[in-house]
């Protein structure tokens, strides 16, 4: 992701940040702007494939979409929406500040944006791990069993959090190291990175306590809705499901109609396949956005932005708004069915 971004701008070693093959700063800015817009178009189309799959399956199986969305927590999803909207605001402020050449403000605003992005990922990690705990996986591995809910911290959540934890220590150590060797610029950069990763834990811990205190609501209502299907889910390990599936394969259309309840249960898995594909791809874009933002943060600390050179902030800003926008579409489509 970042490298694509990096390539939208040319080598800043060349004097005044204008690459040799451009005639003027204006030409360079225009080229970059058109480039990022074209790139955003490809990103939108990339998601369009998934939206098509969503529309098709919702059209064919509207009932499972209604059933399945009860498993998604509107409060967590809505909270994440607010976090991302706020980050878009700070990103816009960063772009404005860069046009005025206020590098310090740019750095602050970009840092806030990054922290928000991390909070988003933290909350997402809680949502994912909660689903995995009770067996909500993609279609073929879907084996819902709500009694499996673990007592303490979900092992999946712990696993996901290992990487941020390592990053937290590494970045923190770098910041302290440079702080004590008096490289204040580097200390500031790594300090910012540490704060950014800390955002993940804000999101994760907040989400965890929410699930502990009030989050039971969402899935217990869901539990009621699909109660009468549970007897099919219980006691089937995935392998067993496979065997049954391949057996019913011999009469495809017959299998599709004979036993309504079991089919509903299985097709809920398709909803979650789509859910994981869409939100997973979006999360990858958030991570890419963080890396791009970190690069902007770095250059802000170096004081690169001037009223005649702020293209990169603008481009990354546009990218970030797109990531935000995609979530604005995903949230109602996945969480707010009905």
């Amino acid at each position: 992701m970042t490298s694509e971004h990096g390539d939208h701008h040319d080598d800043h070693e060349h004097g005044e940040f204008i690459a040799h093959h451009f005639e003027s700063a204006e030409q360079q800015f225009d080229a970059g702007k058109l480039g990022i817009w074209a790139f955003l178009v490809t990103e939108v189309l990339f998601f369009t494939g998934l939206f098509c799959a969503y529309v098709l399956y919702r059209f064919h199986h509207p009932e499972i979409f209604v059933q399945a969305h009860h498993f998604l927590d509107k409060i967590l999803g809505g909270g994440n929406t607010i976090v991302l909207l706020f980050s878009s605001l700070t990103m816009a402020l960063a772009v404005r500040a860069s046009q005025l050449g206020q590098n310090r403000t740019v750095a602050t605003m970009v840092l806030v944006t990054m922290v928000c992005a991390s909070i988003f990922l933290g909350v997402k990690a809680v949502e994912y791990s909660h689903k995995w705990d009770i067996g909500i996986f993609v279609r073929a591995h879907f084996s819902l069993d709500e009694s499996h809910h673990p007592k303490g911290i979900s092992p999946y959540l712990t696993m996901i959090s290992i990487i941020p934890l390592i990053l937290l220590f590494v970045f923190g150590a770098m910041a302290l190291l440079y702080r004590f060797t008096n490289s204040l610029f580097r200390a500031a950069f790594w300090g910012g990175m540490t704060l950014m990763v800390a955002g993940y834990f804000i999101g994760a811990i907040g989400g965890y306590f929410y699930m502990k205190v009030g989050g039971g609501d969402a899935h217990s209502t869901a539990g009621k809705v699909i109660e009468h299907h549970d007897d099919h889910a219980d006691g089937h390990d995935p392998g067993d499901d496979h065997a049954q599936e391949s057996a019913s394969e011999s009469q495809p259309a017959g299998g599709a109609h004979d036993h309504e309840t079991r089919d509903l249960h299985h097709d809920i898995g398709i909803f979650f396949s789509i859910y994981y594909c869409m939100t997973g791809l979006h999360a990858i874009h958030v991570v890419g956005g963080i890396v791009a933002l970190a690069w902007i943060f770095y250059r802000s600390l170096l004081g690169h932005w001037r009223s005649d050179y702020f293209g990169p902030v603008d481009y990354v800003g546009l990218y970030w708004h797109l990531v935000d926008l995609i979530w604005i579409f995903l949230f109602p489509l996945l969480y707010l069915i009905n």
Binding site: H242, A243, S246, A247, E249, S250, P252, A253
Partner: protein, 335 residues
């Protein structure tokens, strides 16, 4: 000239290559309703295309010779680089022709899609790499489709594994078969004889061997004679034949009898031998074959997927039928 590959034996030993019947130069014989319309449209497009193509090529060669660069002709002659009326003419005339082609093609297409009410039903089951046809009276034939001349047939088609396509060149008819749903097509054969049915959608290793013969009979009685299988007679005289028939109808899609691995293990030359299974080895005898048919997961042969891809035939085959299958596998012991 064609040596039938051994792997086809299960389907093809009774499947001779029918003599190819010529039609017009580009086509096999017209053996069904709609074939003539198809061929007419084809030839019409061909002649229209040829007209344009010859015009283009002749002009190109003529210009290339006439205006070739040579002493005395060193510069392009003055001529316009733009001529609106000419450009409009050569856009509009082909457009009109194309509208006609589109209309004729769509018209023929709808005729080829909508089966008449009177059509009889035949069920087509496609699986890697064999065809099974089931008729309204309950008879089934493997790898051979039997029709009655001038009697329209509607095919209801299902696939047990991947995409296939039902293609009879002599009937000019084709329809993909999609797993997980039924697809339909229909034909009305107009000519008595035997024709080829190919799988036209790539479906795996032996795609090119997934062939059936279509025989068009003069009367319903002839057809019935061809599709009927006298189980009771063979049960008395030659039960192995019953076993072979059952094998072709139920097993040949996944089990080869030429030693080749397929979805399932080959079943020739295993009788009386020790077969490596997941829990060790197992003697292939009556008991093991019966168990494998009724409960495929009981002892899976090493190297094949767990759980087994095979469906249980419990309740689908009766004791006599299982016995005939055992006789048949026993007869393959030395192959």
């Amino acid at each position: 000239m064609l040596k039938i590959p051994v792997s086809l034996l299960a389907q093809a030993e009774d499947l001779p290559i029918p003599e190819y019947q010529w039609g017009d130069y580009f086509f096999p014989v017209q053996a069904a309703e709609g074939a003539a319309e198809n061929d007419f449209l084809f030839w019409a497009i061909l002649w229209i295309s040829t007209l344009f193509f010859v015009l283009i090529v002749v002009l190109m060669l003529y210009f290339a010779w006439k205006y070739r660069r040579r002493p005395g002709h060193e510069k392009a002659l003055p001529s316009s680089s733009h001529n609106t009326s000419l450009e409009i003419i050569w856009s509009v005339i082909p457009s009109i022709i194309l509208v006609w082609i589109f209309y004729a093609g769509a018209n023929g297409y709808f005729q080829s899609r909508v089966a008449p009410e009177s059509a009889e039903d035949i069920w087509v089951t496609a699986q890697q790499f064999s065809w099974t046809f089931t008729y309204a009276d309950g008879d089934s034939t493997p790898s051979e489709l039997h029709l009655v001349v001038n009697r329209p047939v509607k095919f209801t088609m299902e696939s047990r594994d991947v995409l296939h396509s039902f293609f009879i060149p002599a009937f000019r008819q084709k329809q993909d078969i999609v797993p997980g749903r039924y697809t339909y097509t229909w034909v009305k054969p107009t000519k008595i004889g035997t024709f080829r049915l190919y799988c036209a959608e790539y479906c795996g290793d032996n795609h090119s061997l997934m062939i059936a013969n279509v025989t068009v009979h003069a009367t319903e009685e002839d057809r019935k004679a061809a599709t009927k299988w006298d189980w009771d007679l063979y049960a008395q005289t030659d039960p192995v034949k019953n076993g072979q028939r059952l094998f072709q109808l139920n097993c040949a899609g996944c089990h080869k009898i030429d030693g080749q691995r397929s979805t399932g293990p080959p079943l020739n030359g295993i009788w009386g031998k020790q077969e490596p299974v997941l829990s060790g080895t197992r003697l292939v005898d009556e008991e093991y074959i019966r168990e494998s048919i009724l409960n495929p997961n009981a002892e899976i042969v090493s190297g094949y997927t767990t759980p087994s891809q095979m469906q249980s035939f419990d309740g689908k085959l009766n004791d006599d039928q299982i016995m005939w299958l055992i006789f048949y596998i026993k007869s393959l012991a030395d192959k």
